[in-house]
């Protein structure tokens, strides 16, 4: 550690770190539009420029390392003028349609224009004309709003290992696009939505299905059912000013009822169902020497990733549908039968932390008799929009319980929201299926936390299993390549597309930093710690549905309703 001088104050700095990191720790706010923590600085936006004694020009603080004795002015008139000019130039080729923009009041560019006091249009010029790409069922690209910060390109390439988009053309014609500038729908995009999460403007957004859901809610003929994913209850509160990680389960259930949903179910229930099938499948594969390592199939971005980049691993993917799709399937079969409702009149909505779930819901192999199991997928952000639209005040609402029979869950199902959680849940049940006994300590510490690749070995009876939980598909690439090279002795792999799992999914509230994501994760662990039922197979409604309807895991009926298949995809990679 040494000291540098920032705005005439002494500040502690660590050797080797960039000035921006030092400033952040010291509580000095310097704006940036292109910085991605943890990745190599790109220095693209120049918003973070500061004045350094002895250096003639302005220096981008994100890309310049600290030196002992350095004297920095972060908000000198010159630095502020430069930032303001940059924003004004960006605005000169921006649609300025903030009132109509999905990111209104939640936009980095808008915030900076306000903070820097932009009050007049000093630069006018030709506005670039672009077509909006709405070809994808999950993500909409509006290049006119793009400021070319490059964050989406870097997250897609460096974090997700997908590289569906890049800078194309040159100079004033530069834009972000796919290979051959084609629609996202036919590109290698896996719909994870991490690009939306990092986008500082409205250039990337989810495809909204709010209208479809509202129409269904207002249609007296429709029986509208909603399910919410395990991570939603610990993130939705942020949209309403609650502190990150606060669990709003009961309030959210109440709000969903006020919105007019006829039944409110918990996807954590079908996560329990997934575990029944998936743990049984793992046991079956181990006993019959089936394709191992088995890989989880809950995360639809990961599924598309395997289908296009690693088709040789398709047989390794669990054939289990994701919890969203299992819930959709049992609603339109078991539930509709027992309640005497025509499945054609059921409109099934899911609230997901995920944009790829919108794509998953449209997969043709997941429809039965030409009818989709899920009719509309909303992200956490879209749910917040509907709640605001209806003027519901979450702070003044009495918590309510979910509906039976798909509202009861074990805490194992709730753990699906965080990286490592599916694995932990599966091990708890696999242990019971193989030995007939419960784990003495259901918590597997090595699978917890935000590390991108977590590996451990567990003993189940006299069987020892190698386990890996991976999040962020760049990490999945590393692991798959190691497996291909024969370097790993692993039997079961959990992959979540987004770094950290669904708590950091592409449909979650924006502007989350690492602390926010940690808080979300901590709450899921606390829910598990305090739960009475911690194993999926001990969920009494799970037992009931097997007794009344499904029979046994992996048997004919469950196979027909709860399992699926995958196929190789030929896309431009």
């Amino acid at each position: 550690m040494f000291t540098i001088e920032v705005n005439n104050r002494e500040v502690e700095a660590k050797p080797g770190e960039m000035i921006l990191d030092t400033l952040k720790r010291a509580g000095v706010k310097v704006p940036t539009l292109c910085h991605l923590p943890g990745l190599f600085p790109s220095g693209a936006c120049r918003m973070c420029v500061v004045e350094i004694d002895g250096i003639p020009g302005l220096t981008p603080s994100c890309a310049y390392p600290v030196r002992e004795g350095m004297k920095i002015k972060t908000h000198s008139p010159r630095a502020i003028r430069a930032r303001k000019t940059i924003v004004e130039l960006l605005l000169s080729d921006h649609p300025d349609d903030c009132l109509y923009c999905v990111r209104n009041k939640n936009c980095d560019l808008q915030d900076l224009a306000e903070e820097l006091g932009v009050r007049e249009r000093r630069y006018t010029g030709a506005k670039s004309q672009y077509n909006i790409d709405s070809s994808s069922p999950a993500i909409i690209r509006d290049p006119a709003k793009c400021i070319l910060c490059g964050k989406c390109v870097r997250v897609c390439e460096e974090i997700q290992g997908v590289s569906a988009i890049d800078f194309i053309n040159r100079g004033s014609r530069s834009q972000i696009g796919t290979a051959f500038d084609e629609g996202l729908n036919i590109s290698s995009c896996i719909k994870c939505g991490q690009c939306i999460v990092v986008c500082p403007t409205g250039a990337l957004r989810e495809k909204s299905y709010i209208k479809e859901v509202m129409n269904a809610l207002n249609d007296p003929e429709k029986f509208v059912v909603v399910q919410h994913a395990p991570s939603i209850s610990v993130t939705l509160g942020e949209e309403f000013g609650l502190k990150p990680g606060q669990d709003v389960m009961g309030i959210m259930t109440a709000a969903l009822r006020r919105l007019g949903f006829d039944r409110v179910f918990d996807t954590a229930f079908s996560a329990d169902l997934t575990i029944m099938e998936e743990a049984s499948e793992l046991v079956h594969r181990i006993q019959t020497g089936g394709p191992l390592p088995m890989m989880t199939s809950c995360s639809p971005g990961w599924i598309k990733f395997v289908e296009q980049f690693y088709p040789e691993f398709i047989p390794n993917l669990s054939t289990c549908k994701s919890p969203q799709q299992m819930m959709g399937a049992i609603i339109k079969t078991y539930y509709s039968e027992t309640q005497g409702i025509d499945p054609a009149n059921i409109f099934s909505v899911s609230i997901m932390p995920c944009t790829a779930k919108k794509f998953e819901a449209e997969r043709p192999e997941l429809a039965r008799n030409g009818m989709a199991d899920i009719d509309a997928v909303l992200t956490t952000r879209e749910l917040a929009r509907i709640i605001r639209m209806r003027g519901l005040d979450l702070n003044n609402m009495t918590p309510e319980g979910a509906d039976t029979p798909f509202g009861e869950r074990s805490s194992a199902g709730k753990l699906f929201g965080v990286s490592g959680g599916v694995m932990e849940a599966a091990v708890r049940s696999a242990h019971y299926f193989l030995t007939g006994k419960e784990l003495t300590n259901p918590k597997i510490q090595e699978l917890r936390g935000l590390d991108g690749i977590k590996e451990t070995r567990v003993k189940i009876g006299d069987l020892e299993l190698g386990l890996a939980a991976v999040s962020g598909l760049g990490n999945a690439r590393k692991l798959l390549d190691d497996i291909k090279a024969g370097k790993k002795d692993i039997q079961f792999i959990e992959v979540m597309t987004c770094p950290g799992g669904c708590i950091a999914g592409g449909g979650q509230p924006l502007s989350a930093n690492i602390e926010t994501i940690m808080a979300r994760m901590k709450m899921l662990y606390e829910i598990d710690r305090d739960a009475t039922v911690t194993e999926s197979h001990n969920n009494k409604y799970i037992k009931k549905i097997y007794k009344e309807f499904l029979g046994e895991p992996l048997k004919e009926k469950s196979h027909e309703i709860l399992h699926t298949h995958y196929h190789k995809r030929d896309v431009l990679m």
Partner: protein, 157 residues
């Protein structure tokens, strides 16, 4: 001599990303343009995504992504031609052909390319069709030239 795409890639064994531009140039020289199939194969060879390759290739004017037309029009946008009004000629060509520069008409007959300078400044504004030069071209003149080539297309000569 004719090389296939595979021949070209074989000439660059263990190539890394810094070989991308030479490979793109060789492929375009051989095939006339960069097809999706070629870009995909080059990507596999260099372990680069197609979006990255497309990004690099669109940065430069020299690469095209559609086959050349039977008649390839080059229009000079160098300084002398610009001063003499080549921008209007380009506008006219794009409007008449209903394509942008760098593209080929839907029937595959005529393609259009912008070049920086043909070294024929004395003839400005100048265009060349399959190597045949046309001097002092105006918007009206270029329409007539196009008409004569369209006739050649329909008469299939």
């Amino acid at each position: 001599m004719n090389y296939t795409l595979d021949d070209i890639l074989q000439k660059h064994p263990h190539a890394k990303r810094d070989s991308l531009i030479p490979i793109l140039q060789e492929v375009q020289e051989q095939e006339g343009y960069l097809s999706k199939e070629a870009v995909k194969k080059i990507g596999e060879h260099l372990n680069l995504s197609t979006s990255k390759i497309y990004g690099v290739a669109t940065f430069y004017n020299q690469f095209r992504f559609e086959p050349l037309g039977k008649y390839h029009i080059q229009i000079c946008r160098g300084t002398a031609c610009h001063v003499k009004g080549s921008s209007k000629v380009l506008d006219t060509l794009q409007r008449e052909l209903k394509i942008e520069a760098g593209k080929t008409t839907k029937d595959g007959e005529i393609s259009l390319e912008v070049v920086a300078c043909m070294g024929a400044c004395g003839l400005a504004p100048v265009i060349s069709i399959n190597g045949e030069f046309f001097a002092g071209v105006t918007a009206d003149k270029v329409k007539k030239i196009l008409k004569s080539y369209r006739r050649k297309v329909t008469e299939n000569v």
